[in-house]
């Protein structure tokens, strides 16, 4: 769709034999090794790979944005959009780099809320770039800033240019960051995970905007992402990186339809797709014993309301508003929603970490509304919890074995971590970790391994209910696939009921028997995967589903059309 449009001009960025080495406490670490890449004008090049593959380092080297500990070899040739000048960024001095940044290449960061300075008006922050490169009067610069804000889709830019960052939503902030990058009309924009911090529905809008950047401004984009759906949606060409090296480089269609390298095939294979879980769910539903539907639910919420008290005369914030649902024994309920929808709050309320303010929530027969910690403590034995970020959910000073033994010790099943070691080894084996890992410290494990250990800890007491709060969203796709598989296996084997919280519809579809969709604290739709994903009733569910990019360029183009109709 884009190949015809591209004019046959020279590359804006040409990376040749780039190697980057970092000096660390553990000696030198090679982050990027002999990478050669080209970005042509008006083209979107996606660099994909797992974390640590060197994709961010490669892209940042285009702007000379590497920390002082980095040693760079090779050449990064950056050509101005009109072809008037060209520099090797690697050899440029500090002041020359300042001249090149912004004008020849600009950057869009992952987290829009931290990329903007909260104490300056957004207009000032856009004009700052113009002023740094000189040649604009105050009025001209302002007019240009208003213009660029309008073009990135900020309504009423004349007025909103004088607003502060906190007065914009997350998606709008990312638009402003993009406007900041576009204002000097650079030849190439480096977008480092530009949509990772955003909700799916907002992500679709930002991707649409980036596509317009390419079409209307003629800007080339280097898109760094781990999301294959985003790649399929936006990219023209894809470069796959693995352990600092370029594995494969191909046209987006070729890459998705006929990946050449084994690694690329694995990467694509581990991306969860909608509809995969259907067969599994039906199989499980068939295997349920009679009378299962009338069994006492493990968790039952009726008109559940959770309100966070407002501070300093601000109104209270209602996180969960009149939600009713039930989880029966051995059932997996998937809870989906965007950030701020209240899904995590519900999970925390079930675990007794957040107070219930209204309605009724019964967990394993204990009413949580107004419960005392003392009365709930015995119930905790029967509830497991898997946290979102495996890196922070382990005490860095305890070994994995000590951490997994902690619930056993606390509930008196073992005197100390040493005595519990036998059971801990069993648990580690159940989550497919070698026994010897018990003696390691959390920082010596990879993200996926830590999440397995986290699962082992949650299952240590043989819980009847497991709450998993976005257990895989901090993991790479390839690792996510393996963890989800393990999760599914363990659930079938041990038969615990589970509340699986996620923002990713495809992940929830893979595991859940039933899916509940939350929107602004309210439950808008609930049903089996086939019902909710196959024939969504509520407009929000429809929009959510249409916003989800699928890892297939052709199908995604069709979905994009549907999405446009819905918005």
């Amino acid at each position: 769709m884009s190949t015809e449009r591209m004019a046959p001009v020279g590359p804006v960025v040409s990376i040749q034999d780039l190697s980057v080495t970092f000096a660390t406490d553990a000696g030198r670490v090679v982050a990027v090794q002999d990478v050669s890449l080209e970005v042509r004008a008006g083209e979107v090049l996606a660099i994909v790979g797992e974390s640590g593959s060197g994709k961010t380092v490669t892209a940042r080297s285009i702007l000379g944005l590497l920390p002082e500990t980095a040693t760079t070899r090779g050449a990064v040739l950056l050509t101005r959009k009109d072809g008037s000048s060209s520099h090797d960024v690697v050899t440029l001095g500090r002041s020359d780099l300042g001249d090149v940044r912004g004008r020849d290449a600009a950057m869009v960061f992952q987290e829009p809320s931290t990329a903007l300075n909260p104490v300056y008006k957004v207009g000032w922050q856009i004009v700052e770039g113009l002023r740094a490169h000189g040649g604009y009067s105050r009025a001209e610069a302002r007019a240009k800033a208003v213009d660029v804000l309008r073009r990135v889709g900020i309504p009423e830019p004349e007025k909103r240019i004088d607003h502060y960052p906190h007065q914009f939503s997350g998606g709008q902030k990312q638009r402003i960051v993009i406007a900041q990058a576009l204002v000097l009309d650079p030849g190439v924009i480096i977008a480092d995970e530009p949509t990772t911090a955003l909700d799916v529905t907002v992500q679709a809008e930002i991707l649409d905007l980036l596509r317009r950047c390419r079409d209307e401004f003629g800007t080339a984009i280097v898109l760094i992402t781990h999301n294959m759906g985003v790649v399929a949606d936006l990219a023209d060409r894809v470069a796959v990186m693995y352990q600092g090296q370029l594995v494969e480089q191909a046209d987006v269609r070729t890459l998705f339809s006929a990946p050449r390298e084994e690694y690329t095939r694995q990467l694509l294979g581990s991306v969860p797709r909608l509809g995969q879980g259907l067969a599994r769910t039906q199989e499980r539903a068939a295997a349920r014993p009679a009378g299962w539907a009338s069994a006492t639910p493990v968790v039952e919420a009726r008109d559940l309301r959770i309100v966070y008290p407002g501070r300093l005369r601000k109104p209270d914030f209602t996180a969960v508003d009149g939600v009713s649902f039930a989880i029966r024994p051995g059932e997996v309920l998937g809870l989906v929603g965007e950030s701020g929808s209240g899904k995590t709050t519900i999970g925390r309320a079930i675990a007794g970490l957040t107070k219930v303010t209204g309605g009724s929530l019964s967990v394993l027969g204990t009413e949580m509304n107004g419960v005392k910690e003392k009365r709930f403590r015995p119930v905790r034995e029967r509830v497991g919890f898997v946290f979102q970020d495996p890196a922070s959910s382990f005490n860095p000073l305890l070994t994995i074995a000590q951490a997994v033994a902690e619930p056993l010790v606390v509930h008196g099943r073992a005197k100390d971590a040493h005595e519990a070691r036998g059971r801990v080894d069993e648990l580690l084996e159940a989550v497919q970790l070698p026994r010897s890992f018990g003696d390691r410290f959390p920082h010596e494990l990879s993200g996926g391994q830590r999440q397995r250990a986290s699962l082992a800890r949650a299952l240590a007491l043989g819980p009847e209910l497991l709450i998993a709060d976005e257990p895989t969203s901090a993991l790479d796709v390839s690792v996510q696939a393996r963890v989800l598989e393990l999760f599914d296996e363990l659930q079938r084997e041990l038969g615990f009921a589970c509340l699986f919280i996620s923002h990713d519809l495809a992940v929830v579809d893979l595991l859940a028997d039933r899916i509940a969709v939350l929107y602004r604290g309210q439950l808008v739709e609930e049903g089996t995967g086939a019902q909710v994903l196959g024939a969504p009733q509520h407009p929000y569910t429809q929009r959510l589903l249409a916003s989800l990019p699928v890892p297939d360029p052709d199908e995604q183009a069709a979905r994009r059309a549907t999405w446009r109709q819905l918005t």
Binding site: D25, V57, D88, A351, F387
Partner: protein, 344 residues
């Protein structure tokens, strides 16, 4: 997304070593120089305190030997290397014995303020609520006082301004303690409040661990990272406070112990009459210890922060390599070496 590749997980778990030794291994360049200098200065101080009896030619309160009295304000000579004071004491001996007093005050002051400050900070940060509010206000109030004034008040309260050896040491130490408790309190409280929100504390809560278990096993052990740093910096400040107390006349009597601040006070009138040795040497001793401890503290601070820590350059040999043609690659390609050679 992290920009660095995952560093090769070396089996460095058990090789972390003692706090200061580890940092000494890690340090390079100027930071290493600072740390080594600080450690040497502090080491000399500690050794002198330990071996004072062997090193000092006379006792700290000795006024005469077999040949009769020393005489007051004698200039440095073979008998008295650093001369004698206005009271007739040997300056060198008093400087050497002064290290003992200083060390005792540092140790007592730090142990007391450490235990109380850490305990209060932990309770206050973990439970919050009214206890936290009251303690924070009290500590802020202590902060607002000039430290020396507070120390004087405490010295008077504790010992009525008069002092024997341990009475004087305790008075100085406790008054310093009162000043430093808020510092430990603040640091530990801030760390506790931060750690309380960490996922691993929540996970301990979900497991059903008791408050005490969470506080000791999960919070405290992770909150003590910055303590060695404050410890060394406070130790040097304690010396200054002690010297200040002595200088103002709230120190320890010369018959009870040697104390640099007191000697400085007595040397005040000597300065104008050209008698330099009575003030210079105790002064140097104070500067020596404060400098040593501060250097250790500051370099520990820099080394603890990965952003301030300097490292050996990644590859000293490879940084020099520049492309042949500006903007060209090193080897192959039309702009590289191969290209040029091929063209010529």
């Amino acid at each position: 997304m992290a920009t660095t590749a995952t560093p090769t997980p070396t089996p460095a778990r058990r090789r972390r070593g003692l706090p200061v030794v580890r940092q000494l291994r890690q340090a390079v360049g100027l930071q290493r120089g600072m740390l080594v200098a600080g450690l040497v200065l502090t080491g000399v101080f500690l050794l002198t305190a330990a071996l004072a009896d062997l090193l000092a030619p006379y006792g700290y309160n000795q006024l005469r030997d077999a040949d009769g009295p020393f005489g007051a304000q004698q200039s440095p000579s073979g008998d008295h290397w650093l001369g004698t004071t206005v009271g007739g004491y040997d300056v060198l001996s008093r400087v050497i014995y002064g290290t003992r007093t200083a060390l005792a005050v540092i140790v007592v002051a730090i142990v007391l303020s450490l235990f109380l400050g850490v305990l209060l900070g932990l309770l206050s940060g973990y439970f919050g609520g009214w206890l936290d509010r009251v303690l924070v206000v009290v500590c802020d109030a202590v902060y607002a006082f000039p430290t020396l004034l507070l120390a004087i008040v405490m010295a008077i309260v504790i010992s009525g301004g008069q002092s024997s050896l341990w009475g004087g040491i305790l008075a100085a130490a406790i008054s310093i303690t009162v000043i430093y408790i808020p510092q430990y309190f603040r640091v530990i409280r801030a760390e506790t409040v931060r750690i309380k929100a960490e996922a691993y504390v929540e996970s301990a809560k979900v497991i059903g661990a008791s408050h005490w278990r969470i506080m000791t096993r999960h919070v405290l052990r992770n909150a003590t990272r910055t303590l060695p740093l404050i410890l060394t910096l406070n130790a040097s400040e304690a010396i200054l406070t002690l010297a200040g107390l002595g200088f103002l006349g709230f120190g320890i009597e010369p018959t009870a112990a040697a104390e640099w601040g007191f000697d400085l006070n007595r040397a005040l009138s000597d300065v104008t009459s050209g008698i330099w040795w009575t003030s210079i040497f105790p002064g140097i001793a104070i500067v020596w210890v404060v400098l040593g401890l501060t250097l250790v503290g500051e370099s520990l601070n820099d080394l603890a922060d990965p952003r301030l820590r300097s490292r050996r350059a990644a590859d000293a040999g490879e940084t020099g390599e520049v492309t042949v043609v500006p903007g060209g690659p090193l080897g192959a390609g039309p702009a590289g070496l191969a290209g040029i050679e091929g063209a010529s």
